[in-house]
Symmetry: C2
C-alpha cells in the first residue's frame, strides 16, 4: 500500500528534481555495472577478424612468396629471394624498424632427381619407386648402390636382426604413422624416429643404405623428405624416403617373393655453410619497449613444392599480425616483433642465432608465438614455459580463451615452436598456433605443399587469431 502525502506545487517540482537527480546519479552506475567490461576488446577482435577475412594480406603475400621465390631450402637461391622479398614487404608495413640478422646456414643440395628401383627378376620387370633423398643424406657417389632389402617395423626387429641380418643390405623402415591418433602430430612423433635415426642405426649393423616409408597418413604417391641425423660413430650411408604406396608395394613384394633387391642413386651433397639471414621487423612499445612480444615462422622450406603450409603460411601470418595491428591503429605497450627464422628445417641455426643474440643484448621476451603447423583453420594455441611458472601463466591467460572462443579457439598446454624454443631459458611464455591437423601430413615436405593447397579463409583466420592473442597479451600483460 502506498503512503500518500499532499505536496505543494513547489514541493512537487522539488521532488521531481530530486527524483531526476537520483535517476541521473544512479542510472549510469547501474548501466555501467551491467556493461560488459570486455565490450571494447570484443569489438576490436570482431573488427580484426573481419578485416583479416575481407582485406587479408597473408594470402596474397603467400602467393608472391610461393610463386616468386618458390621453395627455399637454406642456402638456396630461393631462400635468398625469400629474404629479400620478406624484407621489402615488411618495409612497406609502417613498422619502426626492419632488419636482417646474419645467420650461417648449412647448404645441402639434392642434385639430379634420385632413382630408387626395385630390380627386376626373370619373372617381372623392374619398378621405379617415387622417392626423395632425405635432407642431409650423403649421395651414392655417382653410381647406384644395389642391395637386398630387409624390412623392419621396429627398433627391436632391427636389433634382433643384428649384423648378420643387416650387413651389406638396404634397411627398409616401414612402420606406418598411427592413424588412430586424433592429433596427426602425435602420429608423426610416433614414426619420425625412423627417418631421423634410422640411417645411423642401420649403419651400426653394416647396412649400405636406408629406405624409409614416407611420413604421411594417406596412401599416395608423394614421397616426403625431411631431415636425418647421422651419428658420426658409424658410416654415413645414403637414405631416401619412398611414398606410402611404394612402401606398401615393396612390402607386399617381399611377402610374396621372400626377397627383393633395390638400386638407389642419390645425387645429393653437402656444401660449405653459407651466409643467410633471419628477417625481423618491429613496432616499438609505447610503455615497456624493453619487453618483447615475438611472433614468427620460418622462412626456409624443403626443396620441393612451395613450402606453402610449411612454413610460408606461418611467415605471412606473422607479418600480417604487425601489419594488421598497425592498420587498426593499435598502439602496443610492449615491443611487437615479427621474426622470420632461417633454417628451421635442417639446422635451426636461425632460432639458435636469434636466441643467442637476444641473450647477448639482454633482450627480454615476455611472450613468443610461432606458427609452424600449416595454414589450416586455427583451432587454438598451445602454451609452454618453465615448469615453475607455467601454472601461473596459464591462469593469467585463461580468461582470454573466453574472448577467443567465438572464433573457435581453445587453449592447451603443449609445445610451441622449434624456432622459438631456444628462448625458453628467458622464462617467458611460449605458444604455438594450432591449426586443424587432419590434412597437414598430406602435404608436409612433399611436392604437394604448394600455394594452391592453402585455403584463403583458413590462412587468414590463422593470422587474425595470432593478432588477437598478441593484442590481448600486449594490452593486459602476463
Amino acid at each position: 500500500m502506498m503512503h500518500l502525502v499532499t505536496l505543494s506545487p513547489l514541493n512537487q517540482v522539488r521532488l521531481l528534481w530530486v527524483g531526476l537527480l537520483i535517476v541521473k546519479l544512479t542510472l549510469p552506475t547501474a548501466i555501467s555495472a551491467q556493461k560488459d567490461p570486455w565490450a571494447e576488446d570484443k569489438a576490436f577482435l570482431q573488427e580484426l577478424f573481419k578485416q583479416s577475412l575481407a582485406d587479408g594480406k597473408a594470402y596474397p603475400w603467400l602467393r608472391d612468396l610461393c610463386h616468386g621465390a618458390g621453395h627455399r631450402l637454406s642456402g638456396s637461391i630461393g631462400a635468398e629471394k625469400a629474404v629479400r622479398w620478406a624484407k621489402a614487404v615488411l618495409d612497406t608495413c609502417g613498422l619502426d624498424t626492419v632488419w636482417l640478422q646474419p645467420v650461417m646456414v648449412p647448404r645441402w643440395e639434392r642434385g639430379a632427381p634420385e632413382i630408387v628401383e626395385i630390380l627386376g627378376t626373370p619373372k617381372r620387370k623392374s619398378l621405379r619407386l617415387p622417392a626423395l633423398a632425405l635432407g642431409g643424406s650423403v649421395g651414392t657417389g655417382g653410381k647406384a648402390v644395389v642391395g637386398e632389402v630387409v624390412e623392419v617395423r621396429s627398433w627391436e626387429a632391427l636389433d634382433s636382426l643384428g649384423k648378420q641380418g643387416v650387413s651389406g643390405k638396404v634397411v627398409f623402415y616401414n612402420r606406418p604413422m598411427e592413424c588412430r591418433h586424433f592429433n596427426t602430430f602425435e602420429a608423426y612423433g610416433g614414426a619420425v624416429d625412423q627417418r631421423v635415426f634410422g640411417p645411423s642405426r642401420a649403419a651400426k649393423y653394416g647396412a649400405i643404405a636406408v629406405l624409409v616409408r614416407s611420413m604421411g597418413l594417406a596412401l599416395d604417391d608423394y614421397p616426403h623428405t625431411g631431415t636425418l641425423r647421422y651419428d658420426s660413430a658409424y658410416a654415413l650411408i645414403p637414405a631416401a624416403a619412398i611414398s606410402t604406396n611404394a612402401a606398401e608395394r615393396l612390402s607386399a613384394l617381399l611377402r610374396e617373393e621372400g626377397n627383393a633387391r633395390v638400386s638407389i642413386t642419390l645425387n645429393c651433397r653437402t656444401l660449405p655453410d653459407v651466409l643467410s639471414y633471419n628477417v625481423i621487423g618491429e613496432i616499438r612499445g609505447s610503455l615497456t619497449p624493453d619487453k618483447i612480444l615475438l611472433v614468427g615462422g620460418h622462412l626456409d622450406s624443403w626443396d620441393v613444392g612451395h613450402g606453402a603450409h610449411d612454413d610460408g603460411a606461418g611467415c605471412v601470418q606473422s607479418m600480417e599480425v604487425l601489419y594488421r595491428l598497425r592498420k587498426l591503429g593499435y598502439r602496443p605497450r610492449h615491443t611487437l616483433r615479427c621474426v622470420l627464422f632461417m633454417n628451421e628445417e635442417n639446422g635451426l641455426r636461425g632460432g639458435l642465432t636469434y636466441a643467442a643474440a637476444a641473450e647477448e643484448n639482454e633482450e627480454v621476451h615476455l611472450f613468443a608465438l610461432e606458427s609452424d603447423a600449416g595454414g589450416f583453420t586455427p583451432r587454438g594455441f598451445s602454451f609452454e614455459a618453465d615448469p615453475e611458472i607455467i601454472d601461473y601463466y596459464f591462469e593469467q591467460i585463461l580468461h582470454f580463451e573466453e574472448l577467443l572462443r567465438p572464433f573457435g579457439l581453445m587453449f592447451w598446454r603443449g609445445g610451441s615452436g622449434a624456432d622459438i624454443s631456444p628462448l625458453r631459458g628467458q622464462k617467458g611464455l611460449l605458444a604455438g598456433l594450432r591449426p586443424d591437423s587432419q590434412r597437414y601430413f598430406d602435404f608436409h615436405h612433399t611436392t604437394a605443399d604448394v600455394f594452391e593447397a592453402v585455403h584463403p579463409r583458413e590462412l587468414q583466420l590463422g593470422s587474425a587469431s595470432m593478432a588477437a592473442l598478441i593484442y590481448l597479451i600486449d594490452k593486459y600483460g602476463l
Copy 2:
C-alpha cells in the same frame, strides 16, 4: 614419538591381520575417492574415436553411395538407388529394426543442360556463362528467353526500379555473400534470400527471367543450384544461377557498356509427385525404449556432383553412429534411431512426414541430432529447444563439453537441422553437428561436391563426435 608395546607372537600376527584389514578396507576407498569419476567414459570415448579413425565405415560407405547411386534428387533414379543401398547397409549393422517410411516427394527434372549467354554485339562475340537452373524453376518452353539485363544488389534497388525499370527485363541479383563473417553459414543466410525469393519479387514487376549470383565465397566457375520459392500471386518466371566469376564478368560488362542482353534456355520441368522413402534403423533401448534419441542426415541431394558433403556425409556418419556403438558393445538405455530423410533439398517432405508419424504414434524424441553442414572436421554442436526449456537443457549437457574438448569440440546455442526441426514441438533437445565451415560453400550445390572432396579423417571424426554425444546423452539422460 612412537609408543612401543611388546606383543606376543600370536598378537603380532593378529595385529598384522588387523592392519591388513584396515589397509584392505581403506585403500580402495582412498583410491576411488581420487579416481576420476569420468575415467570409464573417457576411455570409452578414446576407443570410439580410435576405432572410427582406424576402421571407419562412413568413408567407404560414402564412396559406395557417391559412386553407386551418384546424385539423388528426390524422385530420381539416384534417389531410388540410394534408398535401396542405405536399407541394405543398415540391414548388415546388427540393428533391431530397419524399415522404409513412405514419403510422397516432388519431382523436378533439369532436362538438357541450360544455356545462358550474354548476347554478342557488333563489337564483341557472345559469351556463354556457367549456369544452373534453380531447383523448381519453370523451363523456357523449348525456346530461349531473351532480354535486357538489369542488375540489382538489394531489394530496395529492385523496388525503386519498379515496374518501369524491370518490366520485360531479366533481373540479375548480384549481392555477394559477405566474406567478413567468421561462420560461412551466416554469409549464406545473408545472401540466399535472392535465390529463394528473387524470382517472384522480380516477376511482381514484370521481369521475364532471373539470374542469380551463385551462393559461394570463392570466385570460381562453378554455378550453385538450390531451391527457389514461387509466390503464386505472380507469374512463374525461369531462374538460373550463374557462377561467381560469370557474375563478376556480367557486372563488369554492364558497367563498361551500359547494357547487355542475355539469352536463357532452361529445359527443366516439374512432374507429378512420386513415392519415395525415409530410411530408418534403430537399436531398441534397454531401459526406456519409449524414449528416442535420433541421429540423421538427408539422403536426397541436388542433381549435380555427388551430394557428398551435402548430405551424403551426414547420412553415412549417422549410420556409423549406430554401427559403432553396437560394435563397441554398448547397450543403449534409450532407443537409438538413425533416420535418413528424403527430400530436404526441395520440400522437406521427409522431415515433415517423419514428425507427423511420430506425433500420430505418440513417439517421444528426447534428443535429435542432425549432420547437414558438410563432412569437414567437426568443431562442435549447436543446440536448440523450446525457449522455456533450453536453459535447463544447456546446463544439463554443459559438463559433456569438458569430456569432448580433447576432440576439439565446443557447444553453442543455435540451429540444429532442417529435417529434425519439425520435431521441435515435442520439446526435446535438438542439435546440429557443426563442422568447420570455411570450405563448405566451395562445394555446396555444385558439380564440385563429389566424394573426392571429402577427407577421410575429417568425415570419420564427425561420425565419432556424433556417436560420442549420443553415448553421453543416452547414458546420463537430459
